[in-house]
Amino acid sequence: MNPIALILAFPLLGFLINGLLGPKLPKSIVGWLGTIAVFASFILAVSQWSLISADAEGINWNAYTFLQIEQLTLNVSFTLDRLSLWMTLIITGIGSLIHLYSISYMDHDEQPAKFFAYLNLFIFSMLLLVLGSNFLMLFFGWEGVGLCSYLLIGFWYTNKDFGHAARKAFVMNRIGDLGLLLGMYLIASNYGSLEYAEVLPSMAQGNGSVSLLTGIAVLLFIGAIGKSAQVPLFTWLPDAMAGPTPVSALIHAATMVTAGIYLVVRTQALFFLSPAARTVVLVIGVLTALIAAVIALRQNDIKKVLAYSTVSQLGFMFVALGVGAYTTALFHVTTHAFFKALLFLGAGSVIHGVHDEQDMRYMGGLKSKMPVTYWTFLIGTLAISGFPLLSGFFSKDEILANVFHHSALVYGIMAFAALLTSVYMFRLFFLTFHGEYRGTEKLEFDKVHESNWKMTTPLLVLALLSVLGGLLNLPHYISHEGFLSAWLKPTYIMFEEVIHADMTTEILLISMAVLIFLVGFVYSRQRYLVKGVSPEVETKGVAKWLQNKLYIDEFYNLVVVKPLEVLGDILFALFDTLLLYGLTFAVHPVLRWVGGRNRKIQNGNIEFYLLYMVVAIAILLGVNLLFV
């Protein structure tokens, strides 16, 4: 049986069963059902490893032709090549771990079946996205994950704010999708097809002017901006923390937000041919990385810090793409998935342990109470801050190295962003786990507890991966060529060999990286562990600006949302009230009037009736005579 079909089928089945029969199934098995569905896909994907390693072409499967308009054929077809296999492994692997975690996390919830159904649907859509062999399937998956994101963010729908957050995520996604759609239209009209295998080689051969390619690339990137939370469409991601923590871990750290990066890597030839587009990507990535890191410095909600951290790290990935280091970006996607999922799940464990308190100012001293969570979280923090030899160190260093070769200025900015990363992550760590417990009276310290094995096992697995993940793509000074870059090389149509710097520069860069980590660590330790922070202190000045997210949300509200609402009101008054309501409610009086007029004919006067009768007969006969 077709492996691609099976990989897609398991999560879909999980969704259908949990979705349709969920309420009738016992609560204990719905979670396992969902987990096993995703895990089965993972096993299947692993089983295809050797096949794909041997044959870089991969497996293609054309399910059926969706639509055929003149020369444009739209197929529901999939391809399992190295890139999509890699993504599938990440999605299903980390997905299974998070599903396992969710069994325990959601066991108090009233509707676990719905949750797992949505999660499975999400996995299915994400797989559609990465396994698709043309832009159409990409778009289906794109929209599907957007939908699931909405459903899952607003999972606890009784809270209106959560609903608003979900809506905000969806709407911002949609704005980006417009760019994606326009890009797709341009591709379809200029290249007559949406298949990767037809469009990309055609581009590589020189069909299409540079401006056309730039236009398409920028439009596709706009889609990526929406989906991967880049400036200016990033404010939905912090708000999306309203959803359950596993959702944040899966969707907003490891998978959905990486769809934008996947898109750029998949259309690598396109971006290769358009330096202007690459510059756009670079600029946006830099801005995002910097702004998000800065905001994260002063957030007090543990999940919000992680959210802004995600946005910032995504900025790093796009910077890598912007300088043409595609594999590096994908490498960072992978390691980031490891440690960010770890961090989120750890945060979930913490929140669970302190009975749903999310403000870090009320935490502290949790190290003794939640050892497993503590140590895994430490590993995650070290990884993201670039502790040497952990996965994050290698991936981030590679990005910085590539950026350095491109431009020293950009390197400087990115290095600063990395420094900030270290600072805010350790701030988070120290505030949460060290120092005195600053909890409120409602939660006594004794009640804080460690989570059960279903939640700690994924933490351990992810911690291990975060440590060892660097092996996936060791830099050139250790091994001849990193595993990942070698593995992915055949998938690139246009490739430029990366220039490797001499050892001196490399040592310089490595020491910079270590320095960044150390400075961040020491500063945070000093500021937050030794000095401590109390919740009642009011933040002033710059800190206040940062805490309020640079007031970007308010700005958007003022500039975008309010005018749209006003426009909506105007149009409502104009069209709805006037035209629709007016017409609908005008029917009644009009009919009454017409009826009233016609009623006068029935005056009971016989002669009247006779006269009408005669005239009517005359007219009928006349018409019959003349026209028939």
Partner: protein, 179 residues
């Protein structure tokens, strides 16, 4: 219309009389005059029947229509004591509109007939309208309608009698126009 001069004199005269008396029926103020004029109209129409080789019909017309029905009308007229009563005259507008309506129908109907292109010449077949012929047709082809007309008459008679019966409690001088 064919040239009037071509028409035979009897037909012309008869038609003229018919139309004239019909007009008088319609316009006369005295109802008794209307009835008498109508009787005269029936006479002229009977003469037309004779011209049309429908002799039996001519006599029956006279006997039934002029003799029975019109007498009935006269009776009722006398019963209700409607003499040269001041019958409320309708407004001129009404008369005009009625005339227009009737005229409209006239025009349309004649146009309809005109366009149908019938121009059959008189064919004289002996004895169409004689009793013998009519009787034979009536008793063979039209037997069922003949019997049914008997039933119709019965019902009409019963209905008329029932309607005309005075109820015992009826006032001698009922109120004006309150029903």
């Amino acid at each position: 219309m064919g040239a009037l001069s071509n028409l035979p004199i009897p037909f012309l005269v008869l038609s003229f009389l018919t139309i004239l008396s019909a007009l008088y029926v319609v316009t006369s103020k005295n109802p008794v005059h209307s009835v008498l004029a109508l009787i005269f109209t029936f006479f002229t129409i009977s003469a037309h029947y004779v011209l049309l080789n429908a002799q039996f019909l001519a006599i029956v017309n006279l006997m039934v229509y002029a003799g029975a029905i019109m007498v009935l009308f006269l009776f009722v007229l006398m019963l209700l004591n409607l003499n040269k009563e001041s019958e409320p005259i309708k407004s001129n507008l009404w008369g005009v509109s009625a005339a227009i309506a009737a005229g409209l129908l006239l025009v349309v109907v004649t146009a309809a007939f005109q366009s149908s292109g019938i121009a059959v010449m008189k064919s004289h077949t002996e004895g169409i309208g004689l009793v013998k012929n009519l009787g034979r047709v009536l008793m063979t082809e039209y037997l069922v309608p003949f019997e049914l007309s008997g039933i119709l008459f019965i019902s009409a008679m019963v209905g008329a009698v029932l309607l005309g019966k005075r109820s015992p409690q009826e006032d001698v001088e009922p109120q004006g126009d309150k029903l």
